[in-house]
Each structure stands twice: as C-alpha cells, then as structure tokens.
C-alpha cells in the first residue's frame, strides 16, 4: 500500500490543514446553534425569581458562534494561500491504526467487560506491532488486567464493567 502512495502524485502525500480547519469550525458553529436554540427554548429573559436558565448560555452560544464563524470565513477567504500541512498520509494511517482498535476496545468494554476487552487490546497491539512471542503476549495481556482487578476491585473496592465471562466465574 505504501508503494501506491509513493507512486501517486505529490499532493496525496499529505493533507492540508485547511480542510479539517473548516470542518472543526463548522462543527463548533453547529454546536453554537444548538446552544442558542435550546437557550431560547428555556428562556433567555427574566422570570419572577431572577434570570431564566437560558440567560447565561445564550450569550456563551453567541460568542461561540461569532468566534467559529470568524475562523470559518477567514479560512474560506484565505483558502488558496493556506498551505499548512495537517499531517502526512503515513501519519494519518498510524493514527487510524491506533484509533480504530481504541473504538473497538470501548465497544468491547460494553459487550465483554473491561477485563476481556483489555486482554484483547493489549494482545492485539503486542502481536501486531512488535515481535513478542505468544507466551510473552499472553503473560502481559492477562497480567495487566489482573493487576488492575486486584488494585481496583479488591484494594480500593471500585467496581469495573464486567461481561459474560466474569458472570460465568461468579465475580
């Protein structure tokens, strides 16, 4: 896959910052509108007992909208001259290689509980990104969650999310 990206035209090697810049500004604008509309719903004026709930957030929303719109418009106006790089393509691939397992991991916590999900996550990383043998991988990936179990559930009595396996073991 890396051969493909080298063969393709030069601009494909990195992503310019202006795209994400516009996207984040737009996201903030949407959030600001959400804040403003809901403030209007709960009331931005005064009731008998003082300012209504929307009194303060309304102005916060307005300022957020003003600031994000400024960024949005100035990015658009300077679009052609904005050549700052957001990240190299290869960097984005590594970041995705980190982010996707993380999302799967969080989904896994909900389904399998945090211990099984942690074993899978640590095991995956150790096998995928370094040349650990199965024994070392198993030791670390099982040992670390077990340590957390001892510290959190036994020592500090803080319950962590559990899944089918823990229920089977009656924990």
């Amino acid at each position: 896959m890396s051969d493909d990206s080298q063969a393709s035209a030069e601009p494909a090697d990195h992503i310019l910052a202006r795209g994400p810049e516009l996207g984040v500004a737009l996201l903030l604008m949407v959030l600001a509108v959400l804040v403003i509309t809901d403030s209007l719903r709960v009331g931005i004026g005064w009731a008998d007992d003082g300012p209504r709930s929307g009194y303060f957030p309304f102005y916060i929303g307005l300022m957020l909208l003003a600031a994000s719109t400024t960024i949005f418009i100035s990015t658009l106006l300077k679009w052609r001259s904005l050549k700052a790089v957001f990240a190299e393509r290869q960097q984005l691939i590594t970041v995705t290689a980190m982010l996707v397992p993380t999302v799967v991991f969080v989904g896994g916590i909900a389904l399998l509980g945090i211990y099984v999900a942690s074993v899978l996550l640590i095991g995956y990383f150790m096998r995928r990104y370094s040349d650990f043998g199965w024994t070392a991988t198993a030791l670390v990936s099982v040992g670390v969650p077990l340590t957390f179990y001892a510290v959190f559930e036994r020592w500090f009595l803080v319950p962590l999310p559990k899944g089918p396996l823990e229920h089977l073991l009656g924990l």
């Binding site: 910052a17 994400p20 810049e21 984040v24 500004a25 903030l28 959030l31 959400l34 804040v35 809901d38 403030s39 709960v42 009731a47 007992d49 003082g50 300012p51 209504r52 709930s53 929307g54 009194y55 303060f56 957030p57 929303g61 957020l64 003003a66 600031a67 400024t70 960024i71 957001f86 990240a87 960097q91 590594t94 970041v95 290689a97 980190m98 982010l99 397992p101 993380t102 999302v103 991991f105 969080v106 916590i109 942690s118 996550l121 640590i122 990383f125 150790m126 990104y129 370094s130 670390v140 670390v144 969650p145 957390f148 959190f152 500090f156 009595l157 803080v158 319950p159 962590l160 999310p161």
Partner: protein, 501 residues
C-alpha cells in the same frame, strides 16, 4: 508571624507516617505519569481521583498534589535522556538537555533540572505560605460581582496572553462554558441542551474531558510521530550531584528571573508550559553567550525547569484562596476538593485550617521527597521507556478507560472520553488551546452562578461590575488583559510609523 505558627501546625498534620507514605506513593506515581507519554499531571490525577473518594481529604490531597510534583519532575527525565518531552512543560528542557546528554553529561543535566525544579517550587511555596492567607482574608469581602470579575479576569488573561489566534482561544473557552451548562440548571432545575438524551442529564464531567483531551489525544499525537525510543542512559552518583550543585549558585540571577516568571504565569492562568518557554527565551536573551543555547548550555536547562515548577506550584495559590485554578492540573485538584465536600476559597482557610496548612506543609515536604526520589531512581525510569510503545500504548488506553468509567460508573462516559480524545487530537493539530476549554468546563457553573447572583442583586444591570472601586478595578484589569494584544499591535504600528519617519 501567624503564618509560621500555622505552617508548623501544618507540618504536624503532614508529618505522620501514613501521610509520608502517601507522599512517597504520590511522587512515585507522579514520576511514572510524567515519564509515560499520554499520561500527564492533569489526566493522571483525574484517573486516580475516584480512588481517593473514600480517603481522608487531607491525605488524599497530599497524595494527589505529590503526583503533580512527581509529574513535574518526571517530565525532565524523558526530555533530557530521550529528547521526548513527557510533558508539554518540558519541551523547552529538550533544547539544551538532550545535547548535554549526547555529550555524556546526562547526569549533570538531570541533577541541574531536578535541583532547579526544586528551587522553583520552593520559592513558589514560600510565596503561597505568606500570600495565600492575605489573599484569602481579602477575598472574604468578595460578593458575587467580585467573584465573577475575578473569573472574568482569569478568562480575559487567557485571551490576552495566548499565542494562539484569539478566535480559537474564544472558541475553546466558549465550548467549555457551553459544555458546562449542559444538564440540569442548578438554580431553576430546568434541563438544558440535553435534547432528550437522558445520559446528558448530569452534564459533561470535566474529569472525563481531561482524560480524553490529554490522555487519548496525546496518545494519538504520539502515535503520529512513530515512536521509537532511542535514548541516552544515565546513572547519577553523589559526586556528580555535588559537583553540579557547586556550579549552580553562579546562576542565581537565572533562578531568580525564572522563578519570578514562573510564579507570575502560574498565578495568572498562563500555566507551566508558556512559563517554561518564556523563561528559556529570557535566559537566552539575557545571556552573554546566546549562541551557546541549544547546544548544551546548562542555563537552558535551569531556566525552563525552574519556571515550569514555580508556575505549577503557584497555580495552586488562586485555586486555594479564590477557588480559581491557574492550570488544568490545579483545576482537577479543585474538582477533587469539591468532590470531598470542601469548597475552595477564602472560607476554606477559616473552616479547615488543618487541611489548608497540611497541604501547604506537604508542598515543602513533597518537593524534598521528590528531589530525593528522582535523584536516586533515574536509571529505573529510563528503563521504563525501553518498554516498547506497543505495550505502553494499549495499557495507557486501558488506564484511561478505567479512569473515565470510575468517575460515575457509567459506560456512556467512556464513549464521551473517546469523543474528547478525537477532539483533543484535532484541537492540538489545528492549534486550538486546550487549557481554556478545561478551565471553562470546571468554572462554568461557578461563573454562571456568580453572574446570575450579581445580576439578581443589580436587577439585571451590568453597572454592578463597576459599582465599587474593588470590583471596578478587577473588571478594568480584565478589560485591559483582553485589550492587551490590541495594544501590542498598536505599538508595533506606531513603531513602524516612527521608523518610516
């Protein structure tokens, strides 16, 4: 000398065997957090906070603040040995620290860094000891309008002092305020901005935000750089320490300057990171041999480390006396106080003197313990970093997930942490500052409450913010901070015109 008496009393509180034990645990965990990428002072403390809910508040804050000192010390180790700043405030330490290590003077650089951290913190704690009671006594007179203007000053100085574009600072800050407003309005009981999602009833917890923004976001950033830790090894022995110490008094002016910069940046919410850069810059400008900087000049290690530690420590002064944290980490500690049922602010000094002075005394002790611990255990921490990132990264992810979950035992929070992680990555890449978001999220409810109370008092007139000399001058100062960048621009314009004439 009330302060001395109180402080002695504080030492009696802090100098018990369990508390010394918590100090040692805190420092060790802190150095570990400082050394590992993705875990820092702010999110490290946020993750460990739920574990302290059942502890005695004094012991808990002693342990958590020691984690903070440990993290401040630990950042220097990776900077000097591996050229990887473990913490943002130790970026400036890499400039001269790593070249020194390459020249085989790693032990000297580390000793200098630790010692200057210690000196910076010591001065800042002395400042806290004598200034905090005065400030607290003064703040007892504060009403809602005064409180709001002090908060306004905090946020205005963010806008004024920041190097990032103003629109981005404002965006980040307002996003924090907006997120803080989500959920139940504490005054009217009305639901705000939940849009029917029941998980949003309790609002966004800033601990979750901190774990996501600093933890997950940082891991993603570190990943991008494609990590291969290649570093120098070091062993510190007594001879090197003594030799380095003998050379240090020569730099007393650098120490003094850096401490002043650090304390100032810590009390105003500049924080440790800009303090370290500013101090490095000033040291270079004032130096007789500015060209030696960046090539292994010991002053280039002393200046940023002193300032960072002084700032990190001084950030606790406004947190304790006014309830306004000077840095994200101080904000997390403030969150801890609230959870333990302690309201930071002037009344804390009156109602809980044991707690306050125990904490202040523990700052002295914690830094002494910290200095001893790091000086003796450097090889161990350097070895930590030889563990491949493919093991460290998933373990840190697991720790972050546990930390996010334990705050409210809610799976929804873990997803929110993930969202904040991606947001943190995008914000870092696009140069949005993150600290204003965190501080606004922490202070949002308080700022809103004091604003609404002030408005109630004045029946909706903003004139209350200049109704007496005290509130008026704080508000004026806030406006001045807000206009600061504008004044700077005017000056350059004026100078340009002068030059042309």
């Amino acid at each position: 000398m009330d302060e001395i008496n109180n402080l002695m009393h504080g030492f009696a509180v802090a100098l018990t065997v369990p508390n010394l034990g918590y100090m040692l645990i805190g420092i060790t965990l802190g150095v570990l957090i400082g050394v590992l990428p993705g875990l820092g002072g702010a999110n490290g403390i946020a993750i460990l906070l739920p574990l302290t809910f059942t502890m005695d508040p004094t012991s808990a804050i002693i342990m958590l603040s020691c984690i903070y000192w440990g993290a401040l010390f630990g950042g220097a180790i990776t900077s000097i040995l591996f050229n990887i700043p473990g913490e943002p405030w130790s970026v400036a330490t890499t400039f001269d620290g790593y070249p020194l290590a390459q020249q085989g003077k790693a032990a000297m650089a580390l000793t200098a860094a630790f010692t200057s951290s210690f000196v910076g913190a010591l001065f800042a704690v002395i400042l806290i000891t004598f200034l905090a009671p005065l400030l607290a006594k003064f703040a007892l007179k504060f009403g809602p309008a005064e409180y709001f203007t002090v908060q306004l000053l905090t946020f205005c100085s963010f806008v004024g002092m920041s190097k990032e574009p103003i629109a981005k600072v404002v965006c980040s800050m307002m996003l924090g305020f907006a997120l803080a407003a989500v959920g139940m309005d504490t005054v009217t009981g009305q639901l705000r901005m939940t849009y029917g999602v029941s998980d949003l009833l309790k609002g966004f917890d800033f601990l979750i935000a901190v774990i996501g923004l600093f933890g997950i976001g940082e891991i993603l950033l570190t990943m991008e750089e494609g990590l291969a830790f290649k570093g120098q090894s070091a062993r510190i022995n007594l001879k090197v320490v003594l030799q380095t110490w003998r050379g240090l008094p020569r730099y007393w002016l650098t120490f003094l300057r850096s401490t002043a910069i650090g304390c100032w940046m810590g009390i105003t919410p500049g924080g440790a990171t800009p303090a370290s850069f500013m101090s490095y810059g000033v040291a270079m400008r004032m130096s007789k041999e500015p060209h030696s900087f960046g090539k292994g000049q010991i002053e280039g290690v002393l200046a940023p480390e002193t300032a960072a530690h002084a700032a990190g420590t001084a950030a606790l002064l406004p947190m304790l006396t006014l309830g306004i944290p000077g840095s994200p980490t101080a904000a997390v500690l403030l969150g801890g106080l609230l959870i333990w049922g302690l309201q930071p602010g002037p009344m804390l000094f009156v109602e809980k003197p044991d707690f306050v002075w125990g904490l202040i005394a523990s700052m002295y002790l914690g830094n002494v313990v910290g200095l001893l611990v790091v000086l003796t255990t450097v090889p161990f921490w350097a070895a930590m970093l030889r563990i491949p990132f493919s093991v460290i990264a998933p373990v840190i992810l697991v720790i972050c997930a546990i930390g996010a979950y334990t705050v409210h035992s809610s799976m929804f929070d873990v997803w929110i942490m993930l969202v904040f992680g991606v947001l943190g990555y995008l914000f870092k890449k696009l140069k949005y500052p993150i600290a204003p978001l965190v501080l606004a999220l922490v202070l949002g409810d308080m700022a809103e409450a004091s604003f609404r109370q002030a408005m109630l008092l004045s029946q909706g007139s903003l004139a209350i913010f200049w109704s007496n000399p005290l509130v008026g001058s704080i508000a004026g100062l806030a406006m001045l901070m807000l206009a600061w960048p504008l004044l700077g621009k005017l000056r350059t314009l004026y100078q340009a015109r002068e030059a042309r004439a």
